[in-house]
Amino acid sequence: MDTTRSPRLSLTSALLCTLAWCVIQDLGKEASATDSGNGLAQNDIVVIVNPENQIDSITSRDLRKLYLGKTRKFSKGGLAALATLDPLRSRFNEVVLRKSDAQIDSIWSRLQFSGRARPPTAFDNPQAVVEYVENTRNAIGFVSRAEITSAVKPVYVFN
């Protein structure tokens, strides 16, 4: 072992130990955050499309394909215009897409910065999602059951 290498390895070991400590600290925080999240999961969330859309229902598999950017097409034709609702985004990602928010951000960043697809349009209030779906022929979005109107078509429900 030469003398120049030892300080580097010490630096590396110190870095890894610090990160290991951070992991242990953060895992504790994460566990409690998940517990409180489950407590909120009371209301149904409904996936909605424009009434002109040919589909009357959608499978969770097809929803995953659209919201993970694997396909842009609805099963009965038309290029989907995806919408997300920020307050319900994490539950949709976890329950339907089975991914963390960070994984979803990463997947859409990859598609966006490689010029392949534009990410879903993000809304922060449910009325805006309903209005967008109502006025956009190939739009698809999700809101809580209480927010849907007769101007949109429900195609999938989860809670």
């Binding site: 963390s100 960070a102 534009r118």
Partner: protein
């Protein structure tokens, strides 16, 4: 030859269309939806070796025992204009260290896209290098778990982008969604200021498949390569002159000539994902010509996600499969020439074992730390080329930390 003519016309056409679309953009602003976004990395890397710095991309300042922010730091800005459901334009500028050691921004993407149908699209203009599975996002640290993509593969080509066109067709095959892509174009890239490569008649295809928990990629690329620079031209002149006295040098003089040569690359990659874990592997083989050697390279990476933490490990390897055997030393003059030739034909073998962790501590931010153990022959794939015939093949430990973000 036909491909060459088509390509040149297409490239000029693409440039013209792009300019037109940009000129028309303000006029159609009432209907165009413009979106600005970006990505960046602030990275620091330090190695335990002062013999030859660890480089990435074109070159410039590398990481040695003094450490540097220049190897991994980059910033990209993208503007997407959506004119209607079928027509859009994308511009992306990226500032990363170039071979001169500065961060002068370059246009990485500049294309217009036409959605020909629900399943077919055509892009014209400048597009990112399609040679590797993830090369189109090689500067976007946030989208990958690892701190920097394995350089054994991703530093095999500094092509970075090409000007031309591509056509993509999406279709379903059983449970998989497939994107089949055909592309053609041309490119120029400079490597460490010594070599200027020009790639013409670029043609290739990629097939990207996505199942429920698997994805895969097959790619083939074919191009005419020519290279020139004052250094290369001087080497050819000297070798041609010397071959009058030493006929065995003629073959090396030919290697340095600026004629067009054919190179080919085949690329295979696959990913398998569970709920918390994923594994990915990629393999690349290049059939070179002249001073571009034949190489095989691969990597395999495994990741496991605990909440917002993702530890990972990868192994990567590159091997040069073509070797030049140099003439046996006979006279002092020939020996001096052979010594110079040996520098030009140094093998690029390199292996890396990397361990790291990614922490998604806030939305659209990730902090990563990685340690690489690298063994190499000479300058390997991405170490600074030695300036003398002293071969530096010591193992190197590299410690890196990076903050990635998108906006």
């Amino acid at each position: 030859m036909a491909a060459s003519i088509n390509c040149k016309h297409a490239c000029k056409g693409a440039g013209l269309l792009l300019a037109l679309s940009l000129l028309l953009a303000p006029a159609t602003q009432a209907t165009a939806e413009v979106m600005l976004s970006g990505f960046g990395t602030l990275g620091y890397a330090q190695s335990n070796s002062d013999n030859s710095p660890y480089l990435r991309g074109e070159g410039g300042e590398g990481a040695d025992s003094d450490g540097t922010f220049k190897v991994d730091t980059r910033l990209g800005i993208q503007m997407d204009s959506h004119f209607n459901e079928r027509f859009s334009a994308t511009l992306q500028g990226v500032a990363r260290q170039n071979y001169e050691g500065n961060f002068k921004p370059k246009a990485q993407w500049a294309f217009i896209k036409t959605q020909l149908s629900d399943s077919q699209s055509l892009r014209l203009g400048r597009m990112s290098d399609p040679l590797f599975r993830n090369s189109q996002t090689r500067d976007v640290g946030y989208v990958s778990t690892d701190l920097r993509m394995p350089q054994e593969l991703y530093n095999q080509s500094n092509l970075s982008y090409f000007d031309g066109l591509d056509y993509t067709h999406h279709f379903a095959l059983g449970q998989s969604d497939i994107a089949a892509r055909l592309y053609t174009g041309e490119s120029k890239s400079t490597f460490s200021g010594i070599f200027v490569f020009r790639l013409e008649d670029i043609a290739g295809f990629t097939l990207d498949g996505q199942g429920n928990n698997t994805s895969w990629r097959l790619g083939y690329n074919h191009a005419s390569i020519s290279y020139s620079s004052p250094t290369i031209n001087a080497a050819e002149t000297a070798l041609s002159a010397a071959s009058g006295f030493f006929p065995e040098l003629q073959v090396y003089a030919d290697d340095f000539s600026d004629r067009k040569r054919t190179i080919q690359a085949i690329n295979l990659g696959a990913t398998v994902e569970g709920d918390a874990w994923s594994a990915e592997a990629e393999w690349l083989t290049i059939k070179g010509s002249g001073v571009v050697p034949d190489t095989n390279a691969w990597y395999a990476i495994a990741r496991y996600q605990f909440a917002r933490w993702t530890p990972y490990a990868y192994v990567a390897s590159a091997r040069q499969t073509s070797r030049r055997s140099l003439p046996a030393p006979s006279t002092a003059t020939l020996n001096a020439l052979i010594d110079l030739l040996r520098l030009a034909y140094l093998p690029i073998d390199q292996d890396t074992l990397a361990l790291g962790v990614r922490w998604d501590f806030a939305r659209k931010f990730a902090l990563k730390a990685q340690v690489d153990w690298v063994s190499r022959a000479s300058h390997g794939v991405n170490f600074a080329r030695p300036v003398s015939n002293t071969v530096n093949n010591d193992d190197v430990v590299l410690a890196s930390i990076a903050l990635d973000f998108v906006f």
